[in-house]
Symmetry: C2
Subunit: 226 residues, 2 copies
């Protein structure tokens, strides 16, 4: 499957690398290719730059947001949540129309300092904002409730015995995303319902940050025991 | 231990009944004893009235909010979240001072119709509102992330293999509450930190409601797998 991943950060790198290994045709989208490849310093939280990651992953292409989106059958939004709408506008609505748009972003706003606040809460969600702005895309929210390494290798923790949520309005898109998640190793997938149910998983980021602090690790999963 | 439980609803009934069985001296607080005992109809969501529950639990006393709080060594806020501050004011700050105040309430606002909204989110919590208004009480947030029957009998689900969160500023109070939780059967207790960490568990109510809808049951637990 041709997959375009918007975002060159840790989540974009992890998803691109793993999906390519699984045999997908992966292109990562960025704002400015030259600027992306010119950055050689880790970002403020220590994530290696794409230019350091890229040589070890020659099977993953790099393109501008619109070029990547144009070539993708499935688009993944792996950008910082507060920049997602702007990035998807740059990618271009015509390149998203009719396609599955997997939104894995978190709704964190760092502009008021630390700890970050949530820029949408229980009365809206980023996934819904994206769906409203791009009504012809088939938005599916998933994976935002775990760290990037668990997104692509859930079985490294408790043999995968933790839960992955999906929300979306299009059942066929949800089926395709569920198949992709299963390929990545996700075994306990709960379909919460329509895209508005993305509010619950997006709000989980608050306790996720608290748990990171309390447990001293972000290598944890959330299992719905039933 | 002398435990005063504010609230005669399902949560108050479950906690009162179980804590009395465990040997505690339990009093349930209410606004108006005569009115409480005069109600013979289930509430709008089908919870039996206290007057129907009480005869089967003769070891649980009923008193006004201030009388119950005055006699309690530990106070439990088991009221509807939107009414909690008013109820605790009625109970009286002088009856809460120096005592452990266990807050199990959820921050749901039903005044705008269904689904309910959250009246505090990631920038404040009900537990902090209570702590600010009653600075001499030792507020501990816990148990709000599960249905009442699991609060008092967590082992009925997966032999208790799900997580209970606590937040509070007073380590001794947290130790006492942890001992009470252990007595109830809770085995996986995560101390998230100070009372401001109640924000995370309070925000879980959104996905809790979504899961109730998606799973068709509220008999589920949230396990932090690590």
């Amino acid at each position: 499957m041709k997959i375009a991943i918007m975002g060159t950060g840790m989540v974009g790198q992890e998803l691109a690398g793993r999906l390519a290994v699984l045999g997908h045709d992966v292109t990562v989208g960025t704002r400015d290719i030259a600027a992306t490849m010119a950055r050689t310093e880790p970002n403020p939280v220590g994530i290696p730059p794409f230019s350091a990651w890229s040589p070890a992953h020659p099977d993953v292409a790099l393109a501008t947001f619109p070029d990547a989106a144009a070539g993708g059958e499935v688009i993944v939004n792996a950008t910082v949540g507060s920049a997602s709408l702007e990035v998807l506008r740059l990618a271009g609505g015509r390149h998203l129309a009719g396609k599955i748009l997997i939104d894995v972003a978190n709704v964190l706003d760092f502009s008021h300092g630390m700890p970050p606040t949530l820029f949408v809460k229980d009365t809206d969600s980023l996934a819904e904002q994206i769906q409203r702005e791009f009504p012809d895309a088939k938005v599916v929210k998933t994976l935002n409730t775990m760290t990037a390494s668990l997104m692509v290798n859930p079985r490294q923790l408790a043999d995968g015995a933790h839960t992955t949520f999906i929300s979306g309005d299009d059942p066929d898109a949800e089926d395709t995303v569920t198949a992709l998640l299963t390929q990545l190793g996700h075994t306990d997938i709960i379909d919460l319902g329509g895209i508005s149910t993305a509010r619950g998983p997006e709000m989980l980021v608050k306790i996720w940050l608290e748990l990171w602090d309390a447990l001293g690790t972000y290598e944890f999963g959330i299992k719905i025991v039933r």
